[in-house]
């Protein structure tokens, strides 16, 4: 199968591309970022997904499947720019899929779509509405991109669309929101709160994306790994020191004293859990995660040790 991956140079994009190549697929990538030491046989295009040149890749190469991983999830990028990349890019990908006869499109989204709140249920199912928009406006573009991708299910009937809502990644690459949050020696927590965090190993993330491509499942799916673990347990397991701070102090200290800088809305995600039910995806594809929660935590600790 000829597979096009917008956002191939990201940590997860590289993993998925390498895996697909090993499985004998033809892999084409689109990314503005360079991928040094890319394996032989992967064709890279240094173009912006929103520009005309990207459409030319679709036109000339006619991929059968597209895995859209060109979304910005970190909060460093300014909100307006993120919004343009995430929503504009997603729109371009699906329009090109429609116009150039792509058979299957996979949108890789995030489980934070559901949002964290005191009254949101544990184990979100795919039908649950996105609550992140109210509690965490910085995530609005990701929620919008997810919902936009979902509209392809009825707007483009000839295209098999898969929308994946993946839990946090935790593993040796240190990639992802949770891993970044854990990078320092001290992990700030809100005093009196210790939510469950749902995460999976990046190897399992790559497996899940490849499986969804092979099984060509249509629809929206939560993708999870091992059962969720409390934040304090993750922090201790990775050799960090959890520092519980009263909420008022927490807000004041963010971005100072070596604590990570977070937008105010992120606080809800440190107080309340976002936990998803991934059983529908497992049933539809037969996906099974391989890496236990202990393995994820150990791999991260070994890749990012804290030196005394």
């Amino acid at each position: 199968m000829r597979v096009l991956i917008p956002g191939i140079a990201g940590v997860l994009g590289q993993r998925v591309a390498t895996r697909l190549l090993e499985h004998g697929h033809e892999v084409i990538g689109i990314d503005r970022r360079p991928w040094r030491n890319a394996p032989q046989g992967i064709e890279l295009h240094d173009v912006d997904i929103r520009k005309r040149a990207a459409e030319d890749v679709f036109r000339k190469r006619r991929p059968q499947a597209v895995i859209h991983m060109a979304t910005v999830t970190h909060l460093v990028e300014r909100t307006e720019e993120r919004f343009r990349i995430n929503l504009g890019g997603t729109r371009a990908v699906f329009e090109h899929c429609r116009d150039w006869g792509v058979e299957h499109a996979v949108f890789v989204g995030r489980h934070t779509y559901y949002g964290a709140a005191a009254d949101s249920p544990l184990y979100h199912v795919e039908e649950d509405p996105p609550m992140a928009v109210t509690t965490f406006p910085e995530l609005a573009d990701l929620v919008a991109a997810d919902l936009y991708a979902c509209t392809a299910l009825w707007r483009i009937p000839n295209l098999v669309t898969t929308v994946l809502r993946m839990v946090y990644t935790l593993g040796p690459t240190g990639h992802g929101t949770l891993a970044t949050f854990l990078r320092g020696k001290h992990v700030p927590m809100v005093l009196g709160f210790d939510p469950l965090f749902h995460f999976m190993h990046e190897e399992d993330v790559a497996t899940a994306i490849c499986v969804s491509l092979e099984k060509r499942v249509q629809g929206v799916y939560n993708v999870d790994g091992p059962a969720p673990v409390p934040l304090s347990v993750i922090a201790k397991g990775t050799g960090r020191t959890p520092v519980p701070l009263p909420e008022v102090a927490f807000r004041a200290m963010l971005g100072r004293f070596g604590l990570p800088k977070l937008p105010p809305g992120a606080l809800a995600h440190i107080k309340y859990p976002v936990v998803v039910d991934g059983s529908a995806f497992r049933k539809a594809t037969g996906f099974q995660h391989e890496m236990s929660e202990m393995r994820c935590i150990r791999d991260y600790r070994e890749a990012f040790p804290i030196r005394a």
Partner: protein
């Protein structure tokens, strides 16, 4: 091992049939460590502070989904604690009853954390259905916060029952094990509920007793379980049908409260009147199906 953990109780926690991960946490956030600590404290209350009479614990299923449904008695969740303790201390192997907590608890620092770690989850339909699909044992007080607001003279009455639990039970084909709880009103005789104080701590209200705070007195408590009730259907029936079923459960619980009151009266009376108590107990029992 912490100072506040009784090793025997820790061993009992190990025998709870829950899918613990390698860190001793379950998928809903309960933790072995917290449970052992919590039950060490609960044991003091359950075995030593209160005198508690338990009947019909055999009706609580050893395995598989179940819904313990009963009345609120007393201004704080003393009744819930005793039900959880009875399933933990009297069952072999022990079972963890998982309560459906008020939503304000999740927002309150420490309170939400502690209740989650001890297996108590926020009372949401989605979470309840997920727990039942995982073959857990739920504990539900359909009176909700209205039930804990009962004043001393109303302590053995029942207020309006919500019907959500019935729809969930029917949808998931879960047996309902009704229980009646008596004595909580004597342990915490509420003379008023302060909404103002409640606002300060983030709760709907705080019960006020003759000695001020809602610290329970060492009263005699009675907990009576009855045989499971099954209701066939899909849970999508009309409100009138569902309410009829809820009424059946409510009647059963009202009967169990009367049985508990008799037992309490008998236990607290002088030994000379014992024969008569047994007679009335049987008489009352005969009225109940």
């Amino acid at each position: 091992m912490s100072l506040f953990i009784d090793p025997e109780i820790a061993a009992r926690v190990d025998r709870l049939e829950l899918p613990w991960n390698s860190y001793g946490c379950d998928p809903y956030g309960a933790s072995k460590d917290y449970l052992a600590r919590g039950f060490t404290v609960a044991q003091l209350l359950y075995r030593h502070y209160f005198k508690i009479g338990i009947e019909g614990i055999e009706y609580v299923p050893a395995r598989g989904r179940g819904m313990l449904v009963g009345n609120h008695s007393g201004g704080v969740a003393l009744d819930g604690l005793m039900v959880i303790a009875s399933c933990f201390f009297e069952k072999e192997p022990p079972r963890l009853a998982q309560g459906m907590a008020e939503k304000f608890m999740a927002r309150t620092p420490f309170m939400g954390l502690w209740s989650t770690r001890c297996g108590q989850v926020t009372g949401l339909v989605e979470t309840a259905e997920h727990l039942l699909a995982d073959e857990r044992l739920l504990m539900i007080f359909p009176e909700g916060a209205r039930g804990t607001a009962k004043l001393y003279p109303e302590r053995n009455s029942l207020v309006h029952f919500g019907s959500g639990f019935m729809r969930i039970a029917m949808k998931t084909q879960t047996p309902i094990i009704p229980f009646g709880f008596v004595g909580g009103g004597e342990a915490i005789p509420t003379i008023a509920n302060s909404v103002t104080l409640g606002r300060l701590v983030g709760a709907p209200y705080v019960p006020i007793t003759p000695w001020g705070l809602a610290i329970p007195a060492p009263a005699r408590l009675e907990l009576t379980y009855s045989e499971p009730m099954m209701f066939d259907g899909t849970g999508t029936e009309e409100d009138e049908v569902i309410e009829g079923y809820v009424e059946q459960v409510k009647q059963r619980i009202a009967g169990l409260i009367e049985i508990g009151r008799e037992r309490r009266r008998k236990a607290l009376s002088w030994s000379g009147s014992e024969d008569r108590s047994i007679f009335t107990f049987d008489g009352k029992n005969g009225e109940q199906p």
